[in-house]
C-alpha cells in the first residue's frame, strides 16, 4: 500500500510559463460536452413537439423554472439559466469520476470560484435593497458587540458552500483510491500462486469498487450539485428580501 499517491491536480504542461493543470483541461472537456448537449437538444424545435429530444429539452426547462419559481418567487425567473448552468457544470464535473478522469470539482479552486461568484451576488443584492450604509449597519444588529460574529458568519457562507462540495467529492476519490490499493495487495496475497502473468493481474479489483462508486460518484455528485444550486437560490432570495422588512 505504499505506491498510492494522494495529491492535488497534476500539472500537465506549461504555456508561456503558466502551468496548465488537469483541472483546466477537464473543465474545458466538460464545457465542450455541455455545449454539444445544448446544441443537440435545441436542434430542430417545432411548436408541437414530435421528437423525444424536444420533450427532454422541455422537461429540463420546466423543472428548472419550477425550482426557481418555488424558491425565489416570480420576479427572479431570470435567474433560471444561471441556476441551470451551475447544476449542469457541477453534476457533469463530478460525474467525470465515473470514467476515471480527474473531476474538476476535486480541486478547491473550481468550487471556491463558484462560491465567490454567489457571494458577490448576495452582497450586491443586500447593498441594493438596504443601501451601503444600511448594509454596514446590518452587521451591528442586534448589539454592537455582535459585529465580529456577524462578519465571521458572512465570510462563512461562501467558505462553507465551497468546502461542503469539495469535501464530499475529494473524500469519494480518496476512498476509491484506498479501496483499489487494498484490493490490489489482497489480490497478490490470495491469487499470487497462479502461473505466469495471471498471478499479477489483480482479479479482486472487479466488482467491489463499482458498488462503492454508485454512492460516491453517482449519488453524491447529483446530491451536491442540487444542494449547491438550492443554497444559491435561497441565499439570493433571502438577500433581496431584506427590503420588505
Amino acid at each position: 500500500m505504499d505506491n498510492i499517491e494522494i495529491a492535488g491536480a497534476k500539472i500537465l504542461f506549461y504555456i508561456f510559463g503558466v502551468p496548465v493543470t488537469e483541472t483546466q483541461v477537464n473543465s474545458l472537456i466538460v464545457l465542450a460536452l455541455l455545449f454539444g448537449l445544448c446544441l443537440f437538444l435545441t436542434h430542430d424545435l417545432k411548436v408541437r413537439p414530435t421528437s423525444k429530444r424536444q420533450l427532454a429539452a422541455e422537461w429540463i426547462v420546466e423543472k428548472v423554472t419550477g425550482l426557481v419559481r418555488d424558491n425565489m418567487g416570480e420576479r427572479f425567473l431570470g435567474f433560471a439559466p444561471f441556476v441551470a448552468a451551475i447544476l449542469g457544470l457541477s453534476a457533469c464535473s463530478s460525474l467525470l469520476a465515473l470514467v476515471a478522469m480527474y473531476p474538476p470539482t476535486a480541486d478547491l479552486n473550481t468550487v471556491l470560484g463558484w462560491a465567490l461568484l454567489v457571494f458577490v451576488m448576495i452582497t450586491y443584492y443586500k447593498i441594493r435593497s438596504s443601501g451601503p450604509l444600511g448594509y454596514l449597519k446590518g452587521f451591528t444588529e442586534p448589539i454592537v458587540v455582535f459585529t465580529p460574529f456577524n462578519i465571521l458568519g458572512e465570510i462563512a457562507t461562501p467558505v462553507s458552500m465551497a468546502f461542503r462540495h469539495f469535501g464530499n467529492v475529494v473524500s469519494g476519490t480518496v476512498i476509491s483510491a484506498l479501496v483499489y490499493a487494498a484490493l490490489a495487495s489482497l489480490s497478490t496475497v490470495l491469487l499470487g500462486w497462479l502461473p505466469g502473468v495471471l498471478g499479477r493481474i489483480p482479479f479482486l479489483q472487479i466488482g467491489l469498487p463499482a458498488v462503492l462508486s454508485i454512492y460516491f460518484d453517482l449519488f453524491s455528485s447529483c446530491m451536491q450539485a442540487f444542494i449547491f444550486a438550492m443554497l444559491t437560490m435561497l441565499y439570493i432570495a433571502n438577500a433581496a428580501d431584506t427590503e420588505e422588512n
Binding site: 494522494i6 461542503r164 469535501g167 475529494v170 446530491m223 444542494i227
Partner: protein, 90 residues
C-alpha cells in the same frame, strides 16, 4: 530515548490529530438520526406526503453533514499531506 527524534514526534502528532479530528463524526450521526425520526413521524401522521417529506429530509441531512465532512477532510489532510509538509520545514 534515541527513538524520540523530531521526525517521530511529528508523525505521532499527525496520527493522534487525525484520530481526534474524526470525533466530529458524532454530530451528524445524532442530528440526522433525530431528523429522520421526525420525518418518520410526519409520514405516519400523513402518509400521502411521503415523497415530499423524504426529499426535504434528504436535503436537510446533506446540509447537516457539512461539519462531519470538515472533520473528515482534516483527518485526511493530516494523514497524507501533513507529514511531508512538516518534515520539509525541519
Amino acid at each position: 530515548m534515541e527513538m524520540l527524534t523530531a521526525k517521530a514526534i511529528i508523525m505521532a502528532g499527525c496520527a493522534i490529530g487525525a484520530g481526534l479530528a474524526l470525533i466530529a463524526g458524532i454530530g451528524p450521526g445524532i442530528g440526522e438520526g433525530y431528523a429522520v425520526g421526525k420525518a418518520c413521524e410526519a409520514i405516519g401522521r400523513q402518509p400521502e406526503c411521503k415523497s415530499s417529506v423524504t426529499s426535504t429530509m434528504i436535503l436537510g441531512c446533506a446540509i447537516a453533514e457539512t461539519t462531519g465532512i470538515y472533520g473528515f477532510v482534516t483527518g485526511l489532510l493530516l494523514i497524507f499531506l501533513a507529514p511531508n509538509l512538516f518534515l520539509r520545514k525541519l
